[in-house]
């Protein structure tokens, strides 16, 4: 292989990206060396098994990916702003919409959700860590290895270009001969294994590690949503694993699962992809529902309305999410009977979702609503997401979908669901739980400004796309002629997209500003909130709770504050905590190496990498690591310090 095949060449933008990657990497290495932070980074972050720090690393990675995917989006919108635009060529555009989709769903939305999960769930259930702390770190490093591998594709070897759905035979060697689709199959596979382990880990955590008295039906709504999400992960991700493995066999070892010749079946890929892909949508949306439930209850100063039906509706959504995958290809030629059945199951999802919308509205009823930044995102979610929901019902009607399928109408619909749903939720959750992690609030004025810019720009961007779809504009076309009449609405959408970008820049500036100037708090409960995580100190000590809380009701901390129930009974006792370990990050590095070699078909390095993985597993199995104990005296000192008493 020649160098000019190895590196992507011929594009000034790519050269710019290469230079900036090298410069940024050098700056990080030099900075860490100059400030002597290597040891700190290794001890405190790279080897950590603390769920809070793993959560923070997930969130930082997700924010980075938000900007990577966002730049993709801006490039796409710039290209489409005017007819016959020459900013991007077809190949470049195809790569960009493919990576935009993959990155936003798998490397932005999922890790952001999992990051918040990591931070919040153990705290909400009164636990000191997750069930398998080191496995949790392995999950993160596998996700990270997968994400970095996927991002590498745009400078080394070429990005995937067959759409995030990677339909065969387009994604086969025959029609996508570059290594781009190899990146797709390997990078997502590695990250997916991490996600699957997260699912197992959190199911075990939530089922086994709740504080005494916290029955299932007393769990906070976010924890419930995470539990259900993890069950979906457990059933959906193995399908993705299999589909990606078959894809890898087809592309690298000459098997014929999805090819056009020798009995391969392109529709099999579409089915496997969406059997995972549709539940995936709910994997990123259900925790969002959980976040909104927490935020809306807190800032209405009321308990969540209809708790049981909220739980029930999520269970029903999770079941239905597995029964609707064929609505992604009504047009594949199955008969009216099949399309009819999938139409009905799809539309049925609107019922439990509607229940949740009305329950949130009734939570506001007779409340005392405070318009904080997290609350603004949660409130804006309701009207915008409802548009996404009703257009979803419209799409579910098979006969009408023949006209919407693969058009901008669909693009508008899923952005109307995913942005107010997932993106607003993670931003709301980020603002809401931020003071818990760092001991100070993000600036509210800047937060609200960013919110209004984002909320308005969002509608400016995506509302025109509904009309474009009905006017016959298909998705994924890199250009169009002026006489189609698509020009003006596309221009409006592009202006909106840049508005969104400005909103996100304000958000990041807000984080920077607040780190420097925001007043620090001593109280662990800045929002006057209701659930257990707010009853411990901010920032949170390693062990989360000095004494394991006992729970009576659904809003234990609120009841405690109202003087009803004593959360912490008894005295300090020795706390057992897991030890840090370098193994997860090393394993992630080996997986990265292994994946990279596989992508290029370098078999000897790949075998070495594969053996490396096995060696790491063997090393772990022989290790005797029983963790460590924090003595009572140290707990007393820490607690006194966190209360602000100087020892």
């Amino acid at each position: 292989m020649k160098w000019d095949e190895f590196f992507v060449t011929g594009e000034p933008m790519i050269y710019g990206a290469m230079v900036s990657i090298v410069v940024a990497s050098l700056a990080i290495v030099i900075g860490l060396t100059y400030f002597k932070k290597w040891g700190y980074l290794w001890r405190e972050w790279l080897t950590t098994v603390d769920h809070k720090r793993i959560g923070i690393m997930y969130i930082i990675s997700a924010l980075l990916m938000l900007f990577r995917g966002g730049v993709d989006a801006l490039l796409m919108r710039s290209q489409l702003a005017i007819p016959e635009n020459g900013l991007l060529d077809a190949q470049h555009y195809n790569e960009i919409f493919t990576t935009h989709g993959v990155i936003m769903i798998l490397f932005m939305a999922m890790p952001f959700i999992i990051g918040l999960m990591n931070v919040v769930v153990p705290l909400q259930i009164g636990a000191r860590d997750v069930a398998f702390p080191r496995l949790n770190a392995v999950s993160f490093w596998l996700f990270f290895a997968g994400a970095m591998l996927f991002n590498l594709s745009f400078v080394i070897g070429g990005s995937p270009d067959a759409g995030w759905t990677a339909y065969f035979p387009l994604a086969s060697n025959e029609f996508s001969p570059s290594v781009g689709m190899n990146y797709y199959s390997i990078a997502i596979q590695i990250a997916g294994i991490g996600t699957l382990m997260t699912g197992v880990n959190f199911i075990a955590t939530i089922l086994k590690m709740r504080a005494p008295g916290m029955k299932l039906m007393k769990m906070p709504m976010f924890t419930w949503s995470v539990l259900i999400t993890c069950v979906i992960i457990l059933f959906a991700f193995p399908v993705l694993t299999v589909a990606l493995a078959l894809m890898m066999f087809d592309r690298m070892f000459g098997s014929q699962f999805f090819t056009m010749a020798n009995g391969g079946m392109d529709m099999l890929w579409a089915n496997l992809f969406w059997v995972w892909g549709h539940p995936e949508v709910y994997i990123v949306i259900l925790p969002a529902f959980g976040i909104f439930s927490e935020v809306i209850a807190t800032f209405s100063r009321k308990n969540l309305y209809g708790y049981s039906s909220m739980v029930g509706s999520m269970v029903i959504i999770s079941l239905l999410s597995f029964l609707v995958w064929a609505h992604h290809f009504y047009t594949m030629g199955h008969g009216a009977m099949v399309n009819g059945v999938f139409s009905i199951t799809t539309m049925l999802i609107a019922v439990p979702t509607g229940v949740k919308i009305f329950n949130w509205l009734l939570t506001l009823h007779k409340g005392k609503i405070e318009f904080t930044t997290p609350m603004l995102y949660s409130l804006a979610f309701i009207p915008i997401f409802t548009i996404g929901g009703v257009t979803g019902v419209m799409l579910a009607m098979a006969s009408a979908d023949y006209q919407y399928h693969n058009t901008m109408f669909l693009v508008a619909h899923f952005h109307y669901v995913l942005i107010p749903g997932t993106v607003f939720a993670v931003i709301a959750g980020f603002y809401y739980w931020f003071p818990k992690l760092f001991g100070f609030r993000l600036n509210e004025r800047q937060g609200k400004l960013a919110f209004w810019v984002i909320a308005i720009s969002f509608n400016v961007t995506f509302l025109p796309l509904f009309l474009l779809g009905l006017n016959g504009m298909t998705r994924r076309m890199y250009t169009y002629s002026a006489d189609t009449g698509f020009g003006p609405l596309n221009m409006i959408a592009t202006i909106g997209a840049f508005g969104l970008a400005i909103g996100f820049i304000i958000l990041v500036y807000n984080i920077y500003w607040s780190f420097r100037y925001a007043p620090r708090e001593t109280n662990g409960d800045p929002w006057n909130a209701r659930t257990l995580e707010w009853s411990t100190h901010s920032p949170i000590p390693d062990y989360n709770f000095a004494i394991v809380p006992t729970v009576q009701g659904r809003d234990p901390f609120w009841e405690h504050k109202k003087g009803g129930h004593q959360l912490y009974k008894g005295n300090y006792e020795e706390i057992h905590m897991p030890n840090n370990s370098g193994q997860p990050v090393i394993l992630g590095g080996i997986f990265f190496f292994f994946g990279f070699a596989m992508i290029f078909g370098w078999w000897i390095p790949a075998i070495i990498g594969g053996l490396g993985v096995i060696v790491m597993l063997a090393v772990r199995s022989f290790e005797r690591d029983h963790g460590h104990h924090i003595p009572v005296r140290e707990i007393e000192e820490t607690e006194a310090r966190l209360r602000g008493e100087q020892a």
Binding site: Q91, D266, M267, H334, K366
Partner: protein, 317 residues
Amino acid sequence: MKRKGLLLAVFSALLVLLTGCNSLAVLNPKGPVAKTQSNVIIFSMLVMALILLVVYVLYIFMLTKYRASKAAPDYEPPHVEGSKWLEFTWIAIPVVIVTILSVVTVRTTNALDKVPAGYEDQKPLVIYASSSNWKWHFSYPEEGIETVNYVNIPTNRPIEFRLYSYGPITSFWVPQLGGQKYAMSDMVTKLDLVAEHEGSFIGKNSNFSGKGFADMEFEVLAMSNAKYGEWVNEVKNTAAPLTEEQFNSLLDTAKVGRQTYSSTHLEFSPAPEGEHAGHNHGGGSDDNSQMDHSDMDMNMDHSDTKDDGAEHASHGN
């Protein structure tokens, strides 16, 4: 106030959506299939607007009435567990709505699977539409002619498009005549359309199929039966026949302009249906549903022809 402005914008946009119907291709149908779909779409929009209205009214009511800034400083919101009756209401009403929509969907989806109502007594004109590397081939087996990247059809006569592909999955879509269907390499899908107005309509591939995807447009020219007959005769008399060699070199080329031939490629490169089908999906095609597994070996032999086509298609990359 800003929030109300936003809502107003959303509402007025919806109004534009409903009133601006005629300028949008999908809502400006020129045949019974697109007409049915347009009716379903407008009906669903009205129902959805009603749902949005209910949610938005409740929402504005809650947000204006229960703001903390309006409440007394010592106001303590009550603890409310929920209400069986209210929760039952917002389960029951959506179930009714979904039921109505389901009935509409199932009936129309069934109707769209057949020759449109009012045209059942006519023998449909069969046109094979196949895609290869960013162009469309239209074969008229009855007339024995073939066109590339444009298709002429008679008005007020059912047309049965039989769709397949020599490469990636594509989707055959003529918005003003009716919704789309996929064209795939190993099976034939059918799409029944009728044009009730003369005119030129844009057709396109709507399923991403690689580099030249954005250019995969074709013209559908609907003309009176008499004019159509004249055109067919003209083609038969003036155009050259399509040889296997020419067809293969056509498959090799990524994009071409319009072409016309006085014979079809179906004779030497048959569509993947009947004994030539790759798989049986039971998708309503009679030829497919009668096939059983004992035929499978036979299919393998015939698939050679198809593989040739596939190979040629790939050269165009």
